[in-house]
């Protein structure tokens, strides 16, 4: 506790203007930045995957299974930072047992369970079922056992059964798209519905969250697809990368338009909070909002993608261009989450002062924990990929 008091004393000494005395402590820190970032990646990756199944975009087919596994790996990690952030993680099950139905947050468990159980796991199971059955026959030892377990006792790989699998995948994807919208739109609602906070309180928040989720998900799958093909010493399919880059570009433009609309709307309405919010943007958030989120993370990739996608560059150069753009997008979307979550707590609700956020290096809410939560999904993805190879050449059929 002494450590906390020392931190709070330091924060208080850097406050400008007036804050309510209880506002010295910043309550939602790095872990709550990571949570919407990760769920955004889940929703985005799933929506990209559904392009192939529902909208028949054949070019992105090589990324379908990878995108689904990515969504699953990140979804498994998504609740962890939340849990670690709770004062009493051991009481978290109360959200399931005695949910307060008027609370937006109480719905988290149900939205999460629905998405994990009904959408992701089921769709991945049907998609892989025929392959898993074949692998269970061809593989020996623990791998064979694992596949037999995953197959849940099914062994029918007749054309009729496989056709049913595909039909099931199609249907689940149809349910999955609104569910993915729900998953991340809901995270936006958690922030957007806090009327006490003028930086968060906006009806656009769920939509902006959703759009940036799609952006980050496409960019992540692009990065992973590019990286995994290189590691496997294959050449990525250019038509696939081109399509991904196009979708990323369009999603970025929609995202930027929405953010601009939000900005102009606030400026034009010029409510009571406009003075302190302007001060916030031009001081505490200048680097993370103007420079990183808007210039480096949005406008930069838009220009880079537009130039590489629609010019006659050699393929190798194009790929590098896409890769850099997708990396920049990740940095940009992370800072978007940062600016929402941390930015919303850097000004006093008295609208008369600004406070500071000092990130700790170690500890439950420290930088190292945060990095851990960001690396963990990739480790899980690695295991998933080992178990359920998403590559086209691994398909047994």
């Amino acid at each position: 506790m002494d450590e906390l008091f020392k931190q709070l004393a330091e924060s208080l000494s850097q406050v400008s203007g007036f804050i309510y005395p209880n506002e010295a402590e910043l309550h939602w820190a790095l872990l709550i930045v990571i949570y919407p970032y990760i769920t955004g990646l889940v929703a985005g990756a799933f929506i990209l995957a559904s392009l192939e199944k529902v909208f028949k975009v054949k070019e992105v087919e090589p990324t379908y299974r990878l995108a689904m596994l990515t969504a699953l790996a990140f979804l498994i990690v998504a609740p962890m930072p939340l849990l670690a952030h709770l004062g009493h993680p051991e009481r978290s099950f109360e959200i399931f047992l005695t949910p307060h139905f008027k609370s937006a947050m109480a719905m988290f468990g149900f939205v999460y369970a629905w998405y994990l159980m009904v959408v992701l796991l089921l769709e991945i199971w049907f998609e892989y079922r025929a392959d898993v059955v074949k692998w269970s026959e061809s593989q020996k030892g623990w791998r064979g056992l694992a596949y037999r377990l995953i197959s849940l006792g099914s062994s029918d790989i007749s054309p009729k059964a496989v056709a049913f699998d595909q039909k099931a995948v199609h249907t689940i994807t149809l349910i999955g798209i609104p569910s993915a919208f729900l998953l991340h739109g809901y995270v936006g609602f958690i922030f957007g519905s806090v009327k006490a906070n003028p930086w968060w309180s906006s009806v656009l928040m769920p939509i902006v969250f959703l759009c940036s989720a799609i952006v980050s998900g496409i960019a992540l799958v692009l990065l992973l697809y590019y990286f995994t093909t290189l590691v496997r010493r294959k050449t990525p399919e250019m038509s696939c990368l081109d399509k991904l880059a196009s979708f990323l570009l369009y999603a970025l433009i929609v995202d930027l338009s929405l953010e601009t609309l939000d900005f102009i709307h606030r400026l034009y309405e010029s409510e009571e909070s406009i003075k302190i919010l302007s001060e916030l943007i031009f001081s505490k958030l200048f680097l993370s909002l103007t420079i990183v989120q808007i210039l480096l993370g949005t406008i930069g990739p838009i220009l880079l993608l537009a130039i590489t996608r629609f010019s006659r560059l050699p393929e190798e150069l194009k790929r590098v261009g896409y890769f850099i753009a997708a990396l920049l997008v990740q940095v940009g979307i992370f800072s978007t989450r940062w600016n929402v979550v941390i930015g919303g707590q850097l000004f006093s609700k008295s609208l008369r002062g600004l406070t500071v956020y000092k990130m700790q290096l170690v500890g439950a809410e420290g930088l190292l924990t945060g990095i851990g939560f960001l690396i963990l999904p990739f480790l899980i993805l690695f295991l998933l990929v080992k178990l359920l190879p998403p590559w086209q050449e691994s398909r047994s059929s």
Partner: protein, 253 residues
């Protein structure tokens, strides 16, 4: 014949079901209520609120001090169930607000040669909103509005997610690092249920704080409501506070 019989039995059972439900609801919980009555406090008979006469507050900070002592609030200046703010409006329209250590040691005189238009103190605390956003957002229902209108936190149930702290527009909540649960003003619930006044009201030397029944016909608060033009903080948020301010300046947020 058999079908008629079955139908009759079915109808009888159908009738028994609501009857037993009614009986249970009438007789079942009766002993429970009886126990509550024995303690002498019936929450249903009260509806509390607080009036604050801004022009009477002298900024001595005794209320903040008494609150900390009475409710075992951490001494560190980041945790307050109640605090006092000082507003200084200068001639050129600039406004400064301060609340050094919640005003617990009072305020030092403003060191400035500038012309001061007006200056005043505003005691703050949980507004015990009738439409409380903190209660709305709590995912497990650990914070709730009791029958007598007081917003309370069950610290044995709170999961420490801090959503209520974010949702409170008045900065009235904090996370107690000892219990890792949300904490806030309770109107000194342990006192008021015994017929005593909240500690802050008890110690106020100028009677700037008036505690009492919002709905009873004769209560000091009711009198204040009749005699003064009362306002609430941030009325546009529709939180319907039950802490009412008289002579509230427009600069106060």
């Amino acid at each position: 014949m058999a079908t008629t019989c079955e139908r009759r039995e079915f109808l009888l059972k159908l009738l028994q079901l609501p009857c037993s439900a009614v009986l249970l609801s009438v007789c079942g919980p009766l002993p429970l209520f009886a126990d509550e009555k024995k303690e002498g406090y019936d929450a249903g008979e009260h509806y509390y609120g607080m009036g604050i006469q801004v022009d009477k507050c002298i900024g001595c900070g005794r209320c903040a001090e008494a609150c900390k002592a009475e409710n075992d609030v951490l001494r560190q200046p980041y945790y307050f169930r109640t605090w006092v703010e000082r507003y200084v409006v200068y001639g050129d329209g600039e406004v400064t607000v301060d609340s050094p250590e919640g005003g617990i040691h009072g305020f030092s005189a403003a060191q400035s040669d500038r012309e001061v238009l007006r200056s005043f103190f505003v005691p703050k605390l949980c507004n015990h909103c009738d439409n409380p956003p903190c209660v709305q957002v709590c995912p497990v229902g650990a914070t709730f509005k009791s029958v007598d209108g007081v917003v309370l936190v069950d610290k044995d149930y709170c999961i420490g997610c801090r959503y209520c702290i974010q949702a409170c527009p008045y900065g009235a909540r904090y996370l107690d690092p000892r219990t890792k649960t949300a904490d806030k003003c309770t109107f000194c619930y342990h006192r008021i249920t015994k017929g005593l006044l909240p500690a802050c009201v008890e110690v106020c030397p100028t009677q700037a704080r008036v505690f009492g029944e919002l709905k009873a016909m004769s209560s000091p608060l009711r009198r204040l409501m009749r005699m003064s033009n009362l306002q609430v903080l941030k009325p546009y948020l529709n939180t319907e506070p039950k802490v009412l301010y008289s002579e509230l300046d427009r600069e106060v947020r």
